[in-house]
Each structure stands twice: as structure tokens, then as C-alpha cells.
Subunit: 349 residues, 2 copies
DNA sequence: GGTTAGCAGTCGGCGTCGTGGAGTGCTAAT
DNA sequence: ATTAGCACTCCACGACGCCGACTGCTAACC
């Protein structure tokens, strides 16, 4: 039971829902008469005014100026989200779009994230963010060494969940592709399935025996470490234009501010990693993020993938006045859809 | 010899240079008195006014309204660029920044492009774009097959210049990692160094002999085809926030327009691929792009890499009022710097 | 007590007006 | 060809006033 349900009688709860719903649609402060007209509540505007005064008292709505309608505060959106959250499925139309956007990319996990971000941002007309699935503990699946020239090779590292990293490794001595291939085979035999920590444990003893192998392994562990550290893999961001067409960004300063929020890694990184906890959809409204930068924005995110194995994040960012019903159901559906794809990577069909 | 140098005597040329330079700095229509004060020309404002009337007649400048100063037209920027182009080097400070931004990424061509875009956008306070180097004819260097589960493998394709592609390949039959490795070795022996067309020529005869191999080769050629077709590889775009802080984007509509230009692939793709011809820096000013969308923007780009082998693009996008001197020298320097890195991939040190 | 009609009062949005000042174009003199 | 002088243009900006939308309050009503 939320705070609102104890504080407010049923009529005031509906009223608050109407206010939030109308404001989400129109972006205009909502007036008592408008509510009376739009939603056939069985009371007069005067009564609604009294109730709205109460809602203001309790911090659910505020007013731009003394004689203006009410605009929802964070608490009102929170109430609204709890109240309408159960509504489950996105439209068939959206489901079809998801399939047709992602299925052509079936073979490429990067493509999944890219496609998901694109279709999501089109659906909610805000910024969509998707990361590729990433294992919490990066493990080597297989590595490959490609001859570039005598003293230089490309190390290609395949990790769990088809994640790839590459890096150029220079050597002190000349070395042929055949030798590199042989080395790769040896290393694969020894190191396959290991994490950075494992590699360090296994490899230490042999150190010094082969300078080329040592160089490769050093680079290898560095890449693995980097994978574990960097929270957020490849990130696809889509739909800034959509978001800026929302009325809250009519002024140039707010538009630039929005661009900075989206461009600045650090702002989002926090929310993306720390908050995407449980399996279900998370909604972070305005000040709930405890981030000054995100004060006027809401984030709706979910993790997807196979728990314990590889997880990615998909979500949307927009002004606190966003269509939460659509956002939540779309994100939930996409997360499930992507989880299905990731799952198919692991088990036989 | 440009049109301007025949049309204009020396004083008018200097005058035009001053007008463009001042406008680039201040973004305010420049008045005759301002010029007289700022640059000690040995003539009175009245004379300058006469000259400016002439410049307007010839289409080099225009006026926002009848009694306002002059703002440069595309032709004026073109003249300015030709006139100041020879100025060669960026500041030491910039050179140092380039090194410190890119050298840590020495091993990763993706990192080069990313770092270059970041440092460039900071230098010119506009949007910077960089693509990774790409061979005009994609050729296989080496491929790798990684077992995902019995009926599915990850194909990793390494092309020239350390470019990577991955794709999941499903099979009709179960197959082990050992078999996959064997297949990869066989295919590498046969196909290494070949282009998509080559592969099709070489492979046809054996078709039908091995369903798994056929599936891999089919995917392989598809990936190669895709590489050749898609003009522009991975593209890194940086600094939209910087650009939006320029005074031309004070109004919300122009800001959203700018976001759309940057977000829309097709707009830039044309300019990036077709125009980046010769080895040196290209400047496309406003309407010269023949693109309605880019009418108010200029692009400064250069190709980098090894001609005939692998080429990438680096450039900047901004309003026609941009600091061309800085833009050109920065882009030129970065292109040379990146070319050096690409070159080192190919030849022994 | 909760609800409602009526009404005075508030405030933003918008169009009008007027003014100051920057800057031009023209003319006539040098 | 250059320049001083001057009348004229046009924008930017603040003041003003009005309209209309809404509220808060009071008093009546169920």
C-alpha cells in the first residue's frame, strides 16, 4: 500500500490519476473545469478545486503561478505509475514492429540492441538506450591471433555471449602467421573458459618462458579486466530528435541541457548500472535519481538476458511528463524479447 | 585564381576577409564603423560602406534588414577559406591533446576514431565525425568459428586493417568445436585474401559438398558484401552539445533541426562518401552540398589512411559561420596523424 | 460535513505603442 | 575616388492595457 492510498480517499485518487493523465497528454497545467468536463466525475468544479488544494498541500501537485491549474509533482507520477502499472501488453502493432526490426539482425547481438533502441524510441517518442548483453565475469571463450606484419599481430578475443574485443599487440621479435596460429591453439587449450583472475593464477608459473606468449596473455588479461570494469559495454542511444520535439524542450536552453544529459556518460551510467536491479521494469522519476542533472527527467529501464550469465539493459529517458503506461509496457516487452534471444545463444533449440 | 580575386581589388578583398573574420568571431552583423575601428584600414567608414554595397551587389554579403550590417554569404566563406587556407599548423596545445587522447588507444582502430572525434569536437566546438578505416574492397584476412552450442556457431571475420565482423550461423546438424576449428583452418587456407567476388568464383565448384561449410561461406560473402556496400562503417559522432551552444542555435527549432541533421544518417552519408575525394582537406560550405538539409551548415572533412588500401574519414560539421582556420588545420593534422597509425599497420616498423 | 454556485481577484499571454540607438544610403564637397 | 554630414530605416526593448482563464473564498444548500 502506497502513501497515497492511505492519504487519499478514492475520489481524490481518481482525481489525481486524471490530472496526471491529462497533463501527460497535453503538457498544459490542468484546471478544475477541464477535469469536470473531460471525465464525468459526479462533482462540480468547485469540489475539484477543494480536492486539488488538498493535493497541493500534500505535495502531489504544484502550480506555476497562483491562479493556474495544477501540474503533477514527482510524487504524483510515482502514484500514477503504481496505479496503472499492472496494465500489461503493448499493442500488437508494437509487437510486430519489434519483430520486424530485430529479426533481420538475428545473427548479431549488437544488432539486437541497436534495433531495440530504434524501435523503442519510435514508440515512446523519447530517447531510448540499449546496451549489448555482457557477462558480469568476463571469461575467455576463444582467442585468435592474426598476423599484421612481422612484429605485430591482432589479438581477437571472443568472450561469453559472443562478445568480441580486439587489440593490436606488438612483439619484440618477428613471428609468422603459422607460429601465431600455433600459439593461439596452445593458449586456447590452456585458457578457454577462464576469467582474468583465473588467467593470472594459471599463467604466473610459466612466465618468462615465451616472450610473445607473455605479451599476448598480458593484453588478454587487460582486455578482460577492462570488460569487467566498464559498466556499460556498447551503448546505443536513439531518438534525441523525438525527445526534443516534446513541449518541455521549446526553449533552447532546456534543449541544450537535454543534449548534455544524453551525451554525458557519467550521468546515465550511474542510473543504468546501479538501479537496474530486479528482473522487472524499474521506473525512476525525477528527483528519485538523486542526480541534479536528472531532476527533470524520468528513466524507465529493465535488464534483460540470463541472470548470472549475460545481462544487458534497455530503457528510455524522457521528461518526467512521459507516457509511463506505454513506456513501461514497451520496455517490459522488449526486455522479454531480448532475453529470449540471449537465452537461445546458450541452450540447444 | 578564384572569382573573387578578379572581381575585387585588394582593398575589397581585405575588407571581405575582415567582415568574414569578425562575423565568425562575434556572430553579429558587421557594420562599417566597427571594421574601421577594429582593423586600421586607411579609409573612412563611408568608403567601407561603398565597398560593402559593392560586395552585396556581387553576392558576397547580405543584410538581415535594410539598415543593418553585413553578414557573409556562402561565397564570402568560400573566398575566406581559399584566402586563409595556407595557414598550416594547429597549436602545439592541440597537437599535444591529440597525442594524449589517441596514444592510449594505440591498439584499437575503433579507439583511434573515437578519440579523434572527441578531441576534434573539443577543439572546434562543433560536431566532429570520424569513421574507422575501411578497405574499399573488403578482403578476408582470417576467419574463426566459435562453438556456441551444437547447432550454432559464431563466425568471426577479420578483414584488412583489423576490421572485425561477427555473425551467428545456425547449422542443420550438430557440430563440435574441433570440427569447427578444422573447418576454419581449411577455409582460411582457401579463402584468405579474397574478396566477396573472389569467394564466389572460387567456391562455386565445391558447392554442395559440405552443408556446414556452405552455410559459413554464404554468411561470409554476405558480410563482405555488406562491408562494401555500407559506405561508412562505424561512425563516431561527438560534440552535439558544443555545437548547440553556438549562437545560431538559440532558437529551439533550429536546435531541433540541428539534432535531426546529425541523427539522420542519409544526410551526412552523401557528403561523407562522395565528397571526400582528394587527399587534402575538403570544405563544403552551405549550399555547396546541394542538400536542402545542409543549407545552413558547413562540413570540413579529410580522408585518412593508405590510398587504395584502407581509408577512413574525419571531419567536422557546424554552422556556416565556423572557425575555418582552426577547423581546417585541426582536421588536416588529425588526418595525417591517423594516416600514420594506419600506415604502421601495414609495414614493418 | 461535504458540496456547490457565485463572485471578486490574480496572473500570464499578447498585441500596441513609443522610444532610443545603431547603422545605412545618399548627396555634395574635397 | 574618398569623405563628412544628414535624413531615414528598422530593430530591440520596455511600458501599458486588455482579455481570458483560473483560483480562492464566502455563503448557501443538501
Amino acid at each position: 500500500m502506497t502513501t497515497a492510498t492511505v492519504q487519499l480517499n478514492e475520489r481524490r485518487q481518481s482525481l489525481l490519476e486524471f490530472i496526471v493523465g491529462d497533463y501527460i497528454q497535453t503538457a498544459v497545467p490542468v484546471a478544475s473545469q477541464q477535469i469536470a468536463k473531460r471525465h464525468r466525475l459526479r462533482v462540480s468544479p468547485a469540489t475539484i478545486r477543494n480536492d486539488m488544494a488538498e493535493l497541493e498541500e500534500l505535495g502531489y501537485i504544484s502550480r506555476p503561478h497562483a491562479s493556474a491549474g495544477g501540474v503533477p509533482a514527482d510524487a504524483a507520477y510515482r502514484f500514477y505509475v503504481e496505479r496503472v502499472a499492472p496494465r500489461p501488453r503493448p499493442s500488437r502493432r508494437f509487437e510486430a514492429r519489434v519483430r520486424s526490426a530485430i529479426e533481420p539482425e538475428a545473427g548479431d547481438p549488437e544488432g539486437w540492441a541497436r534495433g531495440a533502441a530504434a524501435v523503442l524510441s519510435d514508440a515512446v517518442l523519447n530517447v531510448a538506450i540499449a546496451t549489448t548483453p555482457r557477462a558480469s565475469h568476463a571469461r575467455i571463450k576463444q582467442l585468435q591471433l592474426v598476423h599484421l606484419h612481422d612484429r605485430q599481430a591482432l589479438l581477437v578475443l571472443v568472450m561469453q555471449e559472443a562478445r568480441l574485443r580486439q587489440h593490436i599487440v606488438p612483439f619484440g621479435e618477428a613471428i609468422s602467421q603459422d607460429e601465431l596460429t600455433g600459439l593461439a591453439v596452445r593458449l586456447n587449450a590452456t585458457l578457454s573458459g577462464l576469467s582474468a583472475a583465473d588467467v593470472r593464477r594459471v599463467w604466473e608459473p610459466v612466465l618468462g618462458y615465451d616472450a610473445v606468449a607473455d605479451a599476448v596473455v598480458a593484453e588478454l588479461t587487460r582486455l578482460l579486466d577492462e570488460e569487467e570494469r566498464e559498466g556499460l559495454a556498447h551503448r546505443y542511444t536513439e531518438g534525441l530528435g523525438h525527445m526534443l520535439s516534446q513541449p518541455e524542450f521549446q526553449s533552447a536552453v532546456s534543449a541544450r541541457e537535454a543534449v548534455e544529459v544524453v551525451e554525458d556518460d557519467s550521468t546515465l551510467r550511474g542510473v543504468l548500472s546501479e538501479r537496474a536491479g530486479a528482473g522487472s521494469v524499474q521506473v525512476i522519476i525525477g528527483g528519485e535519481s538523486h542526480s541534479q542533472q536528472l531532476r527533470r527527467y524520468s528513466v524507465v529501464i529493465a535488464r534483460y538476458g540470463t541472470p548470472g550469465q549475460a545481462m544487458g539493459v534497455i530503457g528510455i529517458l524522457g521528461p518526467t511528463r512521459m507516457d509511463y503506461v506505454r513506456a513501461i509496457s514497451s520496455v517490459r516487452y522488449l526486455a522479454d524479447f531480448l532475453s529470449g534471444l540471449v537465452g537461445a545463444l546458450e541452450e540447444a533449440p
